[in-house]
């Protein structure tokens, strides 16, 4: 079986989010970039499936050359080869079209990615790719087993989960606890250097949305502390001042 995992190259979850150029550009200064945490779950599950099923595992990203170390890390974690579509990921539709193109050309049967990226949080790319390729798209997936050509999954819903079955080929947007994040070991890091890594040009596609400007939420006024022996005061404040009770 051929598995494709799509990863995002996003600011580390502890990054301070700031903007430059009159609030039109993300400020990369001092920011460390990582594999998106949800994509990291997808990758970890894919590595397990690869071992279990003897599958091949390709990892891809739509991004500029600064994504290369992130893709290398995915190789170190266990992917066999990497593809970078050399383009700024301008919106979800653009990215989905690139993935669909690669997936169609190479005939992947199982396409995994995170439920959403942690920069734009759209959670749309898997569904778009699914529709573009005429495959089922299931998200957010918390458990995924492959049995022959059937994929058994659990999908999170508000207040619980549902158990879902579908046939390959399919696309899943993943989240925990699908697998535990894997940390690359020394051998993985060494072998990643020589694994196939291709950079391809994007297929021409216009997006249909554009960010005009960014803004930060207003700062909090500061905490008002209430004595632990006077919880009635807290209740009074919540009722009369914050008006939330």
């Amino acid at each position: 079986m051929k598995i494709l995992v799509c990863i995002t190259h996003v600011p580390d979850t502890t990054s301070k989010i700031q903007f430059t150029e009159n609030n039109t550009q993300f400020d990369k200064n001092g920011v460390q970039f990582i594999i998106g945490p949800y994509d990291d779950y997808a990758l970890a599950r894919a590595v397990e499936l690869k071992e279990q099923l003897g599958a091949s595992l390709t990892v891809m990203n739509v991004g500029e050359s600064d994504s290369d170390p992130t893709l290398r890390k995915a190789l170190a974690i266990g992917a066999d080869d990497a593809i970078r579509v050399n383009a700024f990921p301008k919106d979800s539709l653009f990215v989905a079209n690139q993935i669909a193109h690669i997936a169609k050309s190479n005939g992947y049967e199982l396409i995994l990615m995170g439920r959403e990226s942690i920069d734009f949080n759209g959670g749309m790319v898997h569904g778009m790719v699914g529709e573009l390729l005429g495959m089922p798209s299931i998200s957010p997936v918390m458990k995924l087993e492959v049995e022959g050509d059937t994929v058994k999954m659990s999908r999170e819903i508000e207040g619980g989960k549902e158990y879902v079955e579908a046939k390959l080929p399919l696309i899943a947007g993943c989240q925990e606890p699908i697998a535990e994040w894997k940390i690359p070991n020394m051998r993985g890091i060494m072998s990643a250097r020589t694994k196939p890594f291709s950079v391809v040009e994007p297929v021409v596609e216009e997006g249909n949305s554009r960010v005009i400007s960014y803004e930060l939420p207003p700062a909090k006024a500061g905490v008002k502390l209430v004595d632990k022996d006077n919880v009635e005061e807290l209740v009074r404040l919540l009722k009369n001042e914050a008006k939330v009770l």
Partner: protein, 322 residues
């Protein structure tokens, strides 16, 4: 021109998040000076439940009675909504951001050749072009986004507009669609869901516990307070990782993002990844025995103290004002 709103149900009742989406669509149609708000509901659901969409702003509900649509099969829902959208000649689709809504909206955006913006937090600005404000970086920032396509889909975040409750009743019309079997190739085998509980993503008050609660046997303290407040219960990631609480209660960067009026965090340190899931809350209260816990910096009110002492007192104090 009509604005179509995709309605979700849970155990035969229209979800509160869908009523919020209707309120959003209604407020938007008033802002742009016209346009009927039409709801689309799929599968088995009672007429008197459907008429309730009127209170939140729908003038009409189109009901696709096909029983195969009662459960949320993503592809089938996307196909059904696309057919309805085209049938009524809508240009805008509004829906609530949710587990099913996100998945359906993404497929619809391709079917309808529509731009899709998710996590919308305000009514669109149509003074020049079509601009939408959405939350990004998991609540740490916002982006003004311009949509250039003719058809548009807006997935609305909780609390983007106040819930409308004073509308009239909506007229229910039944609609027959032609839905091919291949749309139903995904099978939902079973559902495992807490019944009668307040859903965490929709809750107006949330009480969350962290590792400071020491163990699952102490969760009655969290539950008692939640019950008194009519709140949903949440937890930090390590708490669901160790299995003290189910995964669907896990709040934060990699879990549920909540936006209640009141978020009470007990024995949670306030790591940046946890804060990412709660920073859209209107008011945050922190109870932690460590005065240096980072959560206090993100809080509106705080109590420095032992959760095991403070929680029972707080529960009684809430009871006392009822």
């Amino acid at each position: 021109m009509s604005i179509l709103v995709y309605i979700e149900q849970s155990e035969g009742a229209i979800k509160k998040s869908s009523l919020e989406a209707l309120s959003f669509a209604k407020a938007f149609s008033e802002k742009i000076g016209g346009g009927e708000v039409v709801a689309v509901a799929l599968g088995d659901i009672a007429d008197d439940e459907l008429t309730k969409t009127g209170t939140a702003g729908a003038s009409k509900v189109l009901h696709v009675k096909d029983s195969r649509l009662t459960s949320g099969i993503i592809q089938a829902h996307a196909e059904a909504v696309a057919q309805v959208f085209n049938k009524i000649g809508a240009k805008t689709l509004v829906l609530a951001k949710s587990s099913l809504g996100d998945a359906v909206a993404a497929r619809l955006s391709i079917k309808l050749n529509a731009g899709l913006v998710s996590n919308v937090v305000e009514l669109p600005d149509t003074s020049s072009g079509f601009k939408v404000k959405r939350s990004i970086y998991t609540g740490k920032a916002f982006a003004q986004t311009e949509m250039t396509s003719e058809n548009k889909i807006l997935a609305v975040k909780k609390n983007a507009v106040p819930l409308k409750t004073d509308g009239a009743t909506a007229a229910v019309e039944t609609l027959e669609l032609n839905l091919d079997d291949h749309n139903f190739s995904t099978k939902i085998i079973s559902t495992d869901k807490a019944t009668g509980e307040i859903l965490l993503p929709e809750a107006d008050i949330v009480v969350s516990g962290g590792r400071g609660m020491k163990g699952p046997e102490n969760w009655n303290l969290i539950e008692d307070l939640a019950k008194e407040l009519g709140a949903a219960t949440g937890c930090s990631k390590p708490v669901s990782d160790i299995g003290w609480r189910p995964h669907h209660e896990h709040v934060g960067q990699t879990g549920v993002k909540v936006a209640p009026s009141l978020y009470l965090a007990v024995g949670i340190s306030g790591a940046i990844q946890h804060l990412a899931g709660v920073n859209s809350s209107k008011c945050i209260v922190v109870i932690n025995k460590d005065p240096e816990a980072p959560f206090f910096k993100a809080a509106d009110y705080g109590i420095v103290g032992d959760a095991f002492e403070v929680l029972p007192k707080l529960t009684s104090a809430i009871k006392a004002i009822k």
